[in-house]
Symmetry: C2
Subunit: 557 residues, 2 copies
């Protein structure tokens, strides 16, 4: 509820998120419940921000004019701002208020979007797509239903009698796989997207993106808005096919991630780099986030399905603020998400034996577990080693350096009889080991951190595969149950055939995903190991050069 309050004691703001208030001034309070002693509101000069709750006295409801209800709702439930249905102008004001809460929570802009579930015949604004190289009519939201051949993926009437799972939170259920298998996902009137799996040399694989591209994420820059009240980091994102940069914040990545999560429940999606509570503007953190976002983006861009997602294109191409809002809402209203996405799949005609696929999946499952263990092990060792580089290694070599220096210095106290050249060579050796200590401390930025970022990405992918295998096993079980029921005459053969067909569709997806993972893995680990070894080599070579130069000083004696 929006309230009025009177200021009891003056308060002088000393940072960007708080506002100054004068004694006896009247304020608007956006939420009567203080958080950690602070309230959010607007002072008589129209400045919005935080102030100490104990400095004011709430005196009642406000005049009915402004701010809009949007502010109230978004302030009360900051996780769901899209529930706000106001015109663009209000939406802007709503988003701005959201920013306060972002800072309040000290998160870098979290945005999880609620899906309203209303199918709609909406098209992407031309302004956003104008630079797009994707002009295939198949991937346009406004194309009419392609009705050839693939309607059997869905059934038009509910009549399955195979039991549903009790655990509604299992990924089997949440992903929509159960609903899809059981035939509970009705064919929609309008399907404009299709994703194709074909048979490659090594088995099922996604049809490649006909216009492959990569992305760079560069130049993280601290920016402010609202007269410095709001500070954030902006990254320059440049897709290789356009060469035109767009500027995105973490919250935009987070928005995209949530779109992808919702739509592609059966595709292995790398985790977005974690939110960070504190130190968001520290150099090391910004570097780390940039590296991690780059790896994340590499993975999305390389994926034949994810890279062609309209929401992703919007993210990569849109430069206009108003178009951004429109495209954002379009993506949020996409109905071909989760179980419905499975209706868009085109699979090879080839018939696979369920038993063969099960065997493949079991082998892969054992591999995933083993790889997960060893990635975890390497990750722990590398973390530990990185700490030691910055800590004990650095300190040990610097202590050695300082001890050498001290010996060199002691010699100068016997000046008449010492060799100045020797003394300075020893002191120089001291400096050399101090430098080597610093080099040890700096080194993880060049090798271990990169390795750790990649291992983190893979830990996420492997966790996803565990879920996907679980989903697939659930599908197998349902099919077997239906076959048993059918053999007992309790289920029509037609329905059993439908379930088998849908299960095979899912098999193809998992196989295509395994294929993509394997291709990426080989490239990814080769590159990771090479980079690590090259950086290590360069490090030890630098140490050698340092020592060589130092040794030369003694040869002159």
């Amino acid at each position: 509820m929006l309230l009025r309050a009177r200021v009891l004691y003056p308060f002088q703001s000393e940072n960007a998120t708080a506002i100054s208030i004068e004694k006896d001034e009247e304020l608007l309070v956006f939420d009567e419940h203080p958080v950690q002693g602070w309230m959010l509101g607007e002072n008589s000069r129209g400045e919005r921000g935080l102030f100490p709750a104990s400095y004011v006295e709430v005196i009642g409801a406000p005049l009915e004019s402004e701010p809009t209800e949007c502010v109230l709702r978004s302030a009360a439930s900051p996780d769901f701002p899209s529930a706000c249905h106001t015109p663009a102008q209000d939406q802007q004001s709503c988003d701005d208020t959201q920013d306060y809460w972002d800072d309040w929570d000290d998160w870098d802009d979290s945005l999880s979007v609620e899906q309203d579930g209303q199918p709609g015949n909406i098209s992407w604004a031309n302004g956003c797509g104008s630079q797009s190289p994707y002009n295939s009519p198949a991937v346009s939201y406004c194309a009419k239903l392609d009705s050839e051949g693939h309607s059997s993926l869905s059934v038009s009437h509910k009549s399955s009698t195979v039991a549903k799972n009790l655990n509604r939170f299992s990924s089997f259920v949440r992903s929509g796989v159960e609903a899809f298998i059981l035939g509970d996902v009705p064919m929609m009137a309008k399907i404009a997207e299709f994703y194709t799996i074909e048979t490659g040399r090594r088995g099922p694989q996604w049809k490649e993106n006909p216009h492959p591209f990569t992305c760079t994420i560069e130049d993280p820059t601290k920016q402010t808005k609202f007269k410095g009240i709001k500070t954030f980091i902006s990254y320059r994102v440049t897709p290789s096919h356009t060469g035109h940069p767009v500027y995105r914040r973490y919250k935009h990545f987070d928005w995209l991630y949530n779109r992808l999560l919702q739509k592609f429940t059966i595709i292995c999606l790398p985790h977005l780099p974690e939110k960070q509570a504190t130190g968001r503007f520290e150099e090391d953190f910004i570097e780390k986030r940039q590296r991690q976002l780059t790896l994340w983006m590499d993975h999305i861009s390389s994926h034949p399905v994810l890279s062609q997602y309209e929401g992703f294109k919007h993210f990569l191409l849109c430069t206009d603020h108003r178009q951004w809002k429109l495209g954002k809402r379009l993506a949020e209203r996409d109905t071909l998400v989760g179980a419905h996405f499975m209706l868009t799949l085109r699979i090879p005609d080839e018939l696979q034996e369920l038993r063969d696929v099960e065997e493949q999946v079991d082998t892969f499952k054992a591999y995933v577990r083993k790889m997960d263990d060893s990635v975890m092990q390497l990750s722990q060792v590398a973390t530990d080693l990185a700490h030691k580089h910055v800590g004990t290694f650095c300190k040990d070599f610097q202590r050695l350096g300082s001890a050498f220096w001290s010996v060199g210095h002691a010699f100068t106290m016997d000046p008449l009889h010492g060799s100045a050249t020797l003394n300075s060579a020893i002191a120089h050796t001291g400096r050399t080991y101090e430098i080597i200590g610093e080099m040890f401390a700096e080194q993880p930025k060049r090798d271990l951190f990169l390795m750790l970022d990649k291992l983190l990405l893979y830990q996420g992918l492997l966790a996803n595969f565990k879920d996907m295998i679980h989903q697939q096993k659930g599908a197998f079980a349902k099919v077997k149950e239906s076959q048993r029921m059918s053999s007992e005459g309790r289920l029509e053969q037609e329905k059993t055939d439908g379930m088998l067909k849908r299960c095979l569709t899912l098999c193809f997806v998992l196989q295509a995903e395994m294929d993509h993972f394997r291709k990426r893995r080989a490239e990814s680990f080769r590159e990771m190991m090479q980079t690590y070894l090259r950086e290590q080599l360069s490090f030890y070579r630098s140490v050698v050069v340092q020592l060589e130069n130092t040794l030369l000083m003694y040869d002159r004696l």
Copy 2:
């Protein structure tokens, strides 16, 4: 007291130092007081060694024939076996018994020799000196007194009245410096040795050894005697001027050290490597002792006075067992030791101002303190670093190696789709880091240990200099006291002049020692630093080669 004992319970010896005993057998017991439950004695078969005290019952004194009293005395006070005046045959038996106690104490043969203080007109056996290049008549024990010029170093009648120090344990007193300064050291009838100090470019210095040489200490070999009852390490010591090796045990070094300590109380003598209670036959310990003995020997051989000591020549040249015993006793009966050694000094005619020397000594004192601090600091850092090399560094890199290997291994579990070349490259990387870990563990043997040995030697030398400066300050104080007394008419001018002259002699010795120390220090630290850096370079270069070879495996992919 030598006793008889009867065996109550049989005991079967299972090592070289113990003897087997039969029930009811009669034994000779060399000491009635057991040490840690063991007694030393001889069984009825003539075997000597240890047996459990509780297994026997002492029954009384033995027959009066054998063993000789020597056994008794040396057993009772193993530190002073030379007090035994028996013919060579008995001396042998005495030494053998001594060996039991060496093992008993688990020391590598400690031998401190009591000085009997009897001046004697004895000469070195020809057999020992036959290979000696030192044929100068000046340095022969049997030469008659050279009476030219230097008798003023001593006074022939006791008449000083300057007070003696109360603390009889201060090095000022122990070294004989006080007695010398006060003129309490009578000129001896026969002085055959002279040590000369001359004025060099940088001040007073010892006249160089006209026949400089170096020594190698090599090939430490485990040897046994008395049918394996006694085990020890023998070193091959080869002086450069003869090229003929002699074989010496730690106890011989210790004997030499104690001779030097006793004779050259005003000369800076490096500490002998420490005795070791356990693990004397472990490879690492033997290597360490060899390195430390080599450094010790380098220092003695390089010193113009120490290197010309007859006892040292005997140590380096004597190869005959009987001659060894004779020469050993000669050295032990040397009377020109401690305060008397100071009578052998020949100093330049030049007159030094006491004040100037005092100033030099003060500057040197400040330097010694500072250098002692920094050597200590470097020593601690290096010790710590050596531990880390063997411990955490080794472990960290091996853990990294093992984690890489594990990732490579995980990949082989997805065989159809993995690249065997990549998998083996990753596994090879694992092996590389395991090797690097081993290299880290081995490295201290090549650099840090050598550095630590040298620092230890210098810690000893610096501690000696602290003592020597203390002695010199004591001498200054005595001279000042005498001058005051003389000015008050309480002391004859002649005595004051004598004390001043003797004090100046000591000044020259300290200055010559400082000079020698400085020359050695420059060379020694240059060499230490160079060796350390060279070994470090070679280490890091090996790491680079390991990494280069490993990286090549990825380039082939």
